[in-house]
């Protein structure tokens, strides 16, 4: 036993050390390449990359780095939550699921770090003047970032390599490691956001751009809103990518057991993605509000100026996400005995989602010929124009969120019937709560038409609060309501149509494209400024490109990302154990949990003290 523990500890340390060496070598290579190129290339404020646009080069690499960073920050949050659930419920399948996610991380970390190093070289070489200025301002945060990178690498690698070592009574220490991975990761995110948000909403510098207060520069208007927005988005993104991974594995599954396992994994992934996705628009409102507070002009440029048309695209994406999420839940209800009771609600929910989608995607100005515009009396349609403003769009999205939440609650209740004495009253209160939130949302939506934009944007807070409060109250009632509920039948994991898996894949692609688009908008609203209002972009690429051009670049980034992610998935799947003997009863509907925990059980067989599922990981 002691021998096994010592060996596991050695291998955990060895694995961690590999991570440290890897990151050290990457940093050294970055330094040497950056220094070498800086000395070799002719002096300039801006340089191009072998004739390729410096802006596009930085954009593509930065976005890919951001996507992988979101993945490697989102997945540990996901894994940690799942691991806690596993400890709390004592169901090994959760531990196995968390382990499966974490397995994807090592390769993803390496790719993220490589992309980060390339990005740093590009900044130093292609934008030496701006990088020099920012480095001077934020030197302490750069050093902190490097310390955090090493901390993250050490903790994350140790978290992975010590999975077998810290089982049983030592599991709590593994959970502590999981917590540390997430704390370090979040700290990394927050530090990286400093530079990006300073460029958007600079603070802490005087009229001559000299640093006055480092803390003010860090704690600028958009720093905390973007921190929160990205944190939530990372969880949603991580969940969506994991669900896509499960979908691919489901579609390639050869046995019912495999299908059950990956169906369940896809469900958990999509659940966490949707759960994090629902509050995301609220964080977006906060960010929008802070942008307006910082600069009304920047806010108006973003929402009503040259970038306004991209919000139509965003509406289409988010509308698609809502529809796909609900579609997946409704298809999933097909494998829940008793859920057919709620099929009748689907038509109503579909109508709300569709109308919401249409309203949200209605442009303020209509693309029309001169004759059409004179017939309309301007570029705004006399009737449809009313739906093109934020008053209508905020209302639509809040109702869509409420509907999706309701859909999920029905899914959750699918095979259960409350048995508590106050069940009828409880359900009535829940219905009232949802209705009241809808009334508040619609009420403020209508009132918004009669107030100026600066007041109107404040109303979104009330709408959001009403929806959040309704959701919280609904869940607070739901938990005791379903306590001891009678179960109609077990969920038949694996018995879901293949198109549901395509819905999961659609979610992942749309999330990724949405991230690319929003990243472009966030960065693009600085227009011809490197640092808004302070440091002008004097390069040939200072112009704001056409939307068509931008969306093609975003699409290319998304395709590259999925190709790279496929490599990560392929490497992870390649290391799967060969199919071994499995306990009976896997695919019969009620034993999916057993099916999911089988590989772990199989791997644990014959291990001294159950200490090593290491073979499983391999």
């Amino acid at each position: 036993m002691a021998q096994a523990i010592t060996t596991s500890a050695f291998h955990a340390l060895k694995g961690t050390y590999k991570g440290v060496v890897k990151i050290s070598l990457m940093l050294a290579a970055t330094y040497l390449v950056a220094q070498g190129l800086s000395s070799f290339l002719p002096a300039a404020d801006y340089r191009s990359l072998f004739g390729f646009s410096n802006r596009t080069a930085v954009w593509v690499i930065a976005e890919l780095h951001l996507m992988f960073a979101a993945f490697v920050l989102g997945v540990p949050i996901f894994a940690f939550i799942t691991e806690i659930v596993g400890v709390a419920t004592k169901e090994k399948r959760y531990d196995e699921l968390a382990r499966e996610f974490t397995k994807l991380l090592a390769m993803a970390y390496t790719l993220t770090a490589v992309l980060g190093c390339v990005l740093l070289v590009l900044f130093i070489v292609l934008y030496p003047k701006l990088t020099g200025y920012l480095s001077g301002l934020f030197k302490p945060t750069w050093l902190l970032y490097i310390v955090l990178i090493f901390g993250e690498v050490i903790v994350a690698y140790f978290y992975w390599y010590s999975w077998d070592l810290l089982q049983g009574a030592a599991k709590k220490w593994h959970l502590v490691l999981g917590l540390l991975v997430n704390l370090w990761g979040t700290a990394l995110l927050f530090v990286a956001d400093i530079w990006v948000t300073f460029m958007m909403s600079p603070a802490g510098i005087d009229d001559a751009n000299n640093l006055v207060s480092l803390w003010d520069a860090i704690n600028n208007h958009t720093w905390m809103p973007i921190n929160i927005h990205r944190l939530l988005a990372n969880v949603a993104f991580g969940g969506a990518i994991v669900a896509a991974y499960a979908a691919v594995r489901f579609l390639n599954a050869k046995t019912d057991e495999e299908k059950a396992r990956f169906d369940w994994m896809g469900y958990v992934g999509s659940f966490i993605a949707i759960a994090a996705f629902i509050p995301l628009p609220f964080a977006g409102y906060w960010l929008g509000r802070e942008i307006y507070q910082f600069s009304e002009q920047m806010g108006v440029s973003m929402m009503g100026g040259s970038f306004a048309w991209l919000w139509i695209l965003q509406a289409m994406l988010i509308g698609g996400l809502f529809l796909a999420s609900n579609f997946y839940l409704w298809l999933g209800m097909g494998r829940i005995p008793g859920a057919e009771r709620y099929t009748k609600f689907q038509i109503g929910m579909m109508i709300v989602l569709t109308i919401g989608f249409i309203v949200w995607a209605t442009p303020r100005s209509i693309i029309a010929s001169g004759a059409e515009m004179s017939a309309m009396g301007g570029s705004h349609h006399p009737f449809l124009g009313l739906f093109g403003v934020m008053a209508a769009k905020n209302t639509a999205v809040n109702l869509m969120i409420l509907t999706t939440f309701f859909s999920f609650m029905l899914y959750r209740r699918g095979n259960r019937i409350p048995v508590v004495a106050w069940a009828t009253a409880g359900k009535a209160v829940q219905a009232l709560v949802i209705a009241a939130a809808a009334v508040v949302v619609v009420g403020y939506g209508v009132y918004s038409y009669f107030v100026p934009s600066i007041t109107r944007i404040g109303f979104s807070v009330y709408q959001v609060s009403a929806v959040l409060a309704a959701m919280a109250l609904f869940v607070a009632i739901d938990i005791p309501l379903l306590k001891g509920a009678s179960v109609i039948g077990a969920i038949r994991w694996g018995q879901i149509p293949a198109r549901a898996q395509y819905a999961l894949f659609f979610l992942a692609v749309s999330f990724t494209w949405l991230m690319g688009l929003m990243g472009y908008i966030r960065s693009g609203i600085r227009q011809y400024w490197h640092i808004y209002g302070r440091v002008m972009d004097e390069s040939a690429n200072a112009y704001t490109m056409s939307h068509g051009h931008a969306t093609i670049i975003v699409s290319c980034i998304v395709v590259i990302f999925f190709l790279l992610v496929s490599v990560v998935f392929w490497l992870a799947a390649r290391n799967d154990p060969p199919p071994g003997p499995r306990p009976a009863g896997g695919g019969d509907g009620g034993s999916a949990a057993d099916a999911a925990s089988m590989p772990l059980a199989a791997a644990s067989l014959g291990r001294p003290g159950g200490s090593g599922a290491g073979g499983r990981a391999a």
Binding site: T7, S546, H547
Partner: protein, 315 residues
């Protein structure tokens, strides 16, 4: 398996292409940064009006909220009526003064029904000079069909901002490197060497950067040759930064072109710290290996091979 992967890949391409296609359907336009306008006291009125229109529609960003023709935004007042109503807007303030005030300190008086939302035009992001503000006023006056009365004064032109680029680290570097111990800059520093505030008027900034490394390039009149220590050890980027700072003091626009990255010094120091850290970790690993060996039984470990697999798989 391959067919499923191909289907998934095609599905992904179809979704991405759909989004890219919708991106082509929305209006397509490029927005270019405003061109720099040269406005002097001699600029003819017609040209001043044209410059004002260009600033209002471009650099000033006024049309984000206002309109100066039939179509446009209505978040702020209609600019076609601005000059006509200016005389009666604020009691005791003449039309031209009111228009200038409404641009420079817009919150000083708000037109009824409009919130406090306009950014001062001489602050970022518009960052107009007074000459540019007056050009906008000239355009506003012309819009209302009134006589263009506004005049650009010499002081308005002199106050025009020279550069919007990043502030250079030159000032801080001169203090850090001890230059101000001997040289006076902006009224502060020693008098052993020549005063450097306007040195860039006499020498090209690039030459100043070279002179720091090699002081024998020239010696200012009245000062002893060989007194200044050569500083070839100072990073090229730092020398360029100092030159850029001194150039700015003489009103010249010069960019530090930095032939070395900003971390040339710190990078080496940081690398040393990281190397030490790696060695420490290696020692810890060696210690763990020794412990493992000491606890190993004579026979082969039943899980050694698996451990190797684990490490290999995840790495």
């Amino acid at each position: 398996m391959k067919a499923t992967i191909a289907k998934i890949f095609l599905f992904m391409l179809a979704v991405v292409s759909l989004y890219a296609y919708v991106g082509q359907l929305v209006p397509q336009f490029e927005e270019h940064p405003p061109q720099k306008k040269v406005i002097t006291t001699e600029t003819p009125k017609e040209e001043l009006v044209a410059s004002g229109q260009e600033i209002l529609r471009g650099k000033g960003g006024c049309l984000v909220c206002h309109k100066d023709q039939e179509r446009g935004n209505e978040r702020g007042p209609d600019l076609r009526q601005a000059a006509g109503k200016a005389a009666t807007r604020k009691p005791g303030t003449a039309a031209e003064a009111y228009l200038i005030e409404s641009l420079v300190t817009p919150d000083a008086f708000l037109v009824e029904g409009y919130p406090k939302m306009m950014p001062p035009s001489m602050k970022p992001p518009a960052n107009l000079s007074m000459a540019e503000v007056k050009a906008v006023v000239a355009y506003l006056q012309s819009l209302g069909g009134a006589e263009v009365t506004v005049k650009v004064e010499a002081a308005d032109v002199a106050a025009e901002k020279k550069s919007s680029g990043p502030v250079h680290r030159g000032k801080a570097l001169m203090a850090e490197q001890g230059c101000v111990g001997c040289h006076k800059v902006e009224g502060e520093g020693g008098e052993i060497g020549p005063e450097l505030t306007k040195v860039a008027e006499r020498h090209e900034p690039a030459k100043i950067a070279q002179k720091i490394a090699d002081p024998t390039l020239w010696t200012a009149e009245g000062f002893q040759t060989g007194l200044m220590p050569p500083r070839p050890d100072m990073p090229e980027g730092d020398r360029q930064e100092i030159a850029a700072y001194l150039a700015g003091l003489s009103g010249k626009s010069y960019s530090p072109t930095g032939t070395a990255s900003p971390w040339s010094h710190e990078g080496v120091r940081l690398g040393a710290v990281i190397a030490v850290f790696n060695i420490v970790m290696l020692l810890v690993l060696g210690w763990a290996r020794a412990r493992e060996k000491s606890t190993l039984s004579p026979g082969p470990s039943p899980i050694e091979g698996e451990g190797r697999n684990t490490a290999g798989a995840a790495s």
